[in-house]
Structures are given as structure tokens and as C-alpha cells.
């Protein structure tokens, strides 16, 4: 399928663009080396930092990757990271993210159905207030409220709570989209026809309406995945989870150029993967997409 390959190619272009852009942006930042020491840092130490990053060398932006593939530690000793550590951390974050995605889809469906029910009642104001409250609450606040109960308990409790916390806002955001789509679909003729023919409202909803709402849901999965990963930065910090988000934030704060470049690129690749997965699911569930392909 050449069109599919073309789409794949377009998605993948994002990865090298992000890799190069992040390198040059980070390389433009001045390095911080001095700290609480009472005496000055030798100039030769500074030079060694520069060498580590490949700054000022032609093709310097390849340097972090070269080190990564040789199994060397990226960055300075304390925050540096090797390829396998990176993979381990990534798997942790992706695991949390996947659980959060599933939770978010659950929230979305639940919220959409509830809002459809509230529409005609006095509770309809909740349909607006709830998203506002969810959106107006930065992730770190619910995280902080729940953290003392779960941190250092093990049994995946911090991970699951983190997934819960970061999934609320994206879930409800997704829910409003689905609810809007639901409103549109419910007003259509086929619903009236089905109801008129004596099908129960429940089976109309599950059998006929929801499949039509699904494409709207799929469209929003990409942004939601982005929002989930962004939320995980704050959540991992509060829950003390040693995963990718934590690594990333520390690397940015400590201006560990090499780590930031590699991590940002991995991040972009992850989002590309999500995009591809969404395309694939769309092919499976949306007949219109299948027709467009063939």
C-alpha cells in the first residue's frame, strides 16, 4: 500500500526533525558547572563537559547517539544514563501511560453517557462545571493529595494512582468530544428509525450510535496521549517514580543536553507510534477509512 507507506514516512519525518531541533536548542543554552563549591572549577573540567556533548564539533549532534549505541553513559555521572536504563525507564512510563489511556477512555465514555443523561435535567450545569474543575486543577494538586497514601507502598500502587491522576483531565476532555459527537448522532434519523422500530434505547446506543462516535474518539487519542505524557512529568515527580518523566525533567533542569536530545527524540517516536496505532485501529473499526484506502 504506497499511500499507507507515504503516511508512515510523513509520521516518521517528525523523529529526526525533533532530534536535531532539540539538540540545537539545548546546545544554545549556557552550561552551568559552578555550584556550591567554595573554589573555582578548573577550565579543563569545563572543556571536558563540552567534549562530552560534542559541542562545537561538526556533526556534534550525532555524538549522544554514538555514545548511546556504544553503551556508554550519557551526560555527567550523576544524571547520566545508559541505553538499557533508558529502556527500563521508558517501559515504566509507557506502562503507566497505557493504564492511564485505558482509564481515560473509560472516563470519556462514562462522562459522555452521563452528560447525555444530564442534558435535559437540572444537573446539566455539571456538564460544564466538571470539565472546568478537572481542567482547572493542575495534575500536581490531586497527585499531592493522594501521594502520602501510596508512596513507598509498592504493589504498583503509586503507578496506578499516578495513572489515575493523570487520566482525569484528558479523560474528561475526551468525554466532552465524545458527548458532542453523541449529541449529533442521537439527533440523526437512523436513531429515530431504530427507536421507532421498537429497539430499546440501550441497544440503540451500544449497537448503533457508539460505533459511529468511535472515529471522533480516535481523532482525539493523539492529543490525549500527549497530554498523558505531559501529566506524567508532574505526577512522577510527586509520586517519586523513577521513570521517564522524572528523567526528562531532571535532564532539562540540569541542562544535560545529551540526555534531553535522546529523551525528546524517544518521546517524539513514541507519539509517532501512537499515531500509527490509531491509524491501524481506525482501519479496523471505521469502514469509511477502509474505503478511502482501497
Amino acid at each position: 500500500m504506497p499511500p499507507a507507506l507515504l503516511r508512515l514516512g510523513r509520521q516518521l519525518v517528525l523523529v529526526p526533525i525533533v532530534a536535531i531541533a532539540s539538540y540545537f536548542l539545548m546546545a544554545a543554552l549556557p552550561l552551568t558547572t559552578a555550584d556550591d563549591a567554595k573554589r573555582q572549577v578548573a577550565p579543563e573540567v569545563l572543556a571536558s563537559y563540552q567534549r562530552d556533548l560534542g559541542l562545537g564539533q561538526p556533526l556534534g549532534f550525532l555524538r549522544p547517539w554514538e555514545k548511546l549505541f556504544r553503551g556508554e553513559r550519557l551526560g555527567t555521572s550523576a544524571q547520566g544514563i545508559t541505553g538499557d536504563e533508558l529502556l527500563w525507564k521508558l517501559s515504566g512510563s509507557v506502562g503507566v501511560g497505557l493504564v492511564a489511556l485505558v482509564l481515560a477512555l473509560g472516563w470519556a465514555l462514562a462522562f459522555a453517557l452521563l452528560r447525555a443523561r444530564w442534558r435535559r435535567s437540572r444537573l446539566s450545569v455539571l456538564g460544564d462545571a466538571l470539565p472546568a474543575a478537572a481542567f482547572g486543577t493542575p495534575v500536581f494538586i490531586p497527585a499531592l493529595l493522594l501521594a502520602p497514601a501510596v508512596v513507598e507502598r509498592g504493589h504498583l500502587l503509586p503507578e496506578l494512582t499516578a495513572a489515575f491522576v493523570i487520566s482525569v483531565w484528558p479523560g474528561i476532555f475526551l468525554g466532552t468530544l465524545v458527548a458532542d459527537a453523541l449529541d449529533t448522532e442521537l439527533a440523526r434519523d437512523y436513531v429515530r428509525t431504530a427507536l421507532g422500530k421498537g429497539l430499546s434505547p440501550r441497544s440503540v446506543l451500544w449497537r448503533h450510535v457508539l460505533p459511529n462516535v468511535l472515529p471522533a474518539l480516535l481523532d482525539a487519542v493523539g492529543p490525549v496521549a500527549t497530554a498523558l505524557l505531559a501529566g506524567s512529568f508532574a505526577a512522577e515527580r510527586v509520586f517519586g517514580l523513577p521513570y521517564f518523566g522524572q528523567l526528562y525533567v531532571l535532564a532539562v533542569l540540569q541542562k544535560q543536553v545529551a540526555v534531553v536530545v535522546v529523551a525528546t527524540t524517544v518521546f517524539a517516536s513514541l507519539l509517532v507510534l501512537v499515531g500509527l496505532a490509531v491509524e491501524f485501529v481506525r482501519l479496523l473499526v471505521d469502514p469509511r477509512a477502509r474505503e478511502a484506502r482501497s
Partner: protein, 271 residues
């Protein structure tokens, strides 16, 4: 756009927004002493000489200023990109959309973090082109915020252009620019307002999260930075009185903005 066409919810939202703005302006700017003297919540533990009310309302004013400027800037930027993409033809539009997707794909917080670090070092070196911390924050928020609106405007324009009267006008020989100005812009206006209002809370929240990571340097303190730096008080006894007011103000702000923007957006959809 007559007043009758604006739904009640939009009014509620707008009144809420303007009320918050007015309250913060009066309390934070015009009569800060009165607020400091009457604050029932006491002083903030990290700023022992200032009251919680002072910090929260003063911060709200700064946050509103940031949100309004950044929101307006990113809306205008998005609109400009969308319009020029539509005007320039299918090929260019296609590539512009790819770029928009690329920007949209990375989380705002991450990009703002890196932009802030880069901007701050430029500010230190004196190459920021006259931007202070305020300008820097506005610019970084606008730089990440334009992609969403651009996509929305582009889709809206595409829908509008598909309507019959546009086709008729085009058949009568109207140019692209004429179409945009005379036919599309009037029906786009409320939508632009809706998008702008939806950017407002996003900007404030992004700033808050960036402050939480300890990067932003807004002085005087914005609501976002206040929340992002004092949230830890929540785990201590008596910390709720510090965090809850700021949090409540933020939720009200988001409620106002989202009510009015959704109502306006829905209104235009029905129109």
C-alpha cells in the same frame, strides 16, 4: 453579532471572567492595602509579610494579563497561519498542516520549559530584544499555543468554504482575498473569540506547571507561579488555606473561559 444570538451560558461565563478580572484589578492593583488588612486567611508561610489574599488576587491579575496577551497572540498567529495556508493553495496548505501537527504533537509544558530555559539565558545575555520575564513567558506560551487554533481555524474555514453561498460568490468571480474578507470573516468572528477564550486557561495552567518544575521567573508572582510553588503546603496542617484560594480562583477562571468559549463555539456551529 447581536446580543440576542449569544447564549445565556456565554453571558454567565463572560460575567464571571470580567468579574474576576475586575476583582483582581481592584484588589491586587487599586486597593492592595485594604485587601491585606481584611484578609481572613492570614499570611502566607513562605512570604510572612504578605497575606494569602494579596498573593492570590495579585497573582490572578498577573495571570490574567499573561493569559490574555498570550491567548490573543496565539489566536492571531493561528488565524494568520490558517488563512495564509488556505489562501496559498493545496500544496502549501498540506505542508503547513504537517508542521502544525508536529508542533501540536509535543506537550506544551515540555516545549515551554525548553523555550523558557533558552529565553532566560538570552535574557541574561541581554539578547532578549527588550523582553522581560513577562514578555518571555507570553512569547513562549504563544509559540506553543498557535498550533491548536491554526488547526481549528483551518478546519472551520474549510467547512465554511464548502457552503453554497461561497461557491456562488466564487462562481461570480470573487477572488480569494475578497471571499475571506467579505464572506468568511464575519461568520468566523465569534469562533475566533471562542478559540481565544479557550486559550486563556491553557496558558495560565501551562505557566503554573512550568513554575511547579521551578523554571518560570514571573515577578510579581502570577497565580500559576503562586500555586506551583506553594502547592506543597497541602500536605501540612493548615496548608489548605494557602492552596485552596488560589486553586479555587483558577477553577473559576477556567469555568468562566470554558463556559463562554463553548457557548460561543456552539452558537456559531448552529448559526
Amino acid at each position: 453579532m447581536s446580543a440576542r444570538r449569544i447564549p445565556t451560558r456565554a453571558w454567565v461565563g463572560l460575567v464571571l471572567l470580567v468579574g474576576l478580572g475586575l476583582a483582581s484589578w481592584l484588589a491586587g492593583r487599586v486597593f492592595p492595602e485594604a485587601l491585606a488588612r481584611t484578609c481572613p486567611l492570614g499570611t502566607d508561610p513562605t512570604h510572612p509579610d504578605r497575606t494569602v489574599c494579596e498573593l492570590a488576587f495579585g497573582g490572578l491579575w498577573v495571570s490574567l494579563a499573561i493569559g490574555l496577551t498570550a491567548g490573543a497572540l496565539s489566536t492571531v498567529l493561528g488565524l494568520g497561519v490558517a488563512m495564509s495556508a488556505r489562501a496559498a493553495g493545496a500544496r502549501v496548505e498540506h505542508w503547513v498542516l504537517r508542521a502544525v501537527d508536529a508542533v501540536f504533537a509535543l506537550p506544551d509544558v515540555l516545549v515551554v520549559m525548553v523555550l523558557q530555559l533558552a529565553g532566560q539565558s538570552m535574557l541574561d545575555a541581554g539578547h532578549a530584544g527588550g523582553l522581560g520575564p513577562f514578555g518571555l513567558m507570553v512569547v513562549s506560551l504563544a509559540l506553543v499555543g498557535w498550533a491548536g487554533p491554526a488547526r481549528m481555524f483551518r478546519n472551520r474555514l474549510a467547512t465554511l468554504e464548502g457552503q453554497e453561498f461561497i461557491a456562488a460568490s466564487r462562481a461570480l468571480g470573487a477572488g480569494r482575498w475578497h471571499l475571506l474578507r467579505v464572506h468568511l470573516w464575519p461568520s468566523l468572528r465569534p469562533f475566533v473569540l471562542a478559540v481565544f477564550l479557550s486559550r486563556l486557561p491553557t496558558a495560565i495552567l501551562t505557566e503554573s506547571t512550568v513554575s511547579f518544575f521551578g523554571i518560570a521567573r514571573m515577578e510579581p508572582m502570577s497565580l500559576g507561579r503562586y500555586l506551583g510553588t506553594s502547592y506543597a503546603a497541602l500536605i501540612y496542617e493548615g496548608g489548605a488555606r494557602v492552596v485552596l484560594p488560589a486553586w479555587g480562583l483558577l477553577v473559576l477562571l477556567v469555568l468562566g473561559a470554558s463556559l463562554s468559549s463553548r457557548a460561543l463555539g456552539a452558537g456559531t456551529r448552529r448559526a
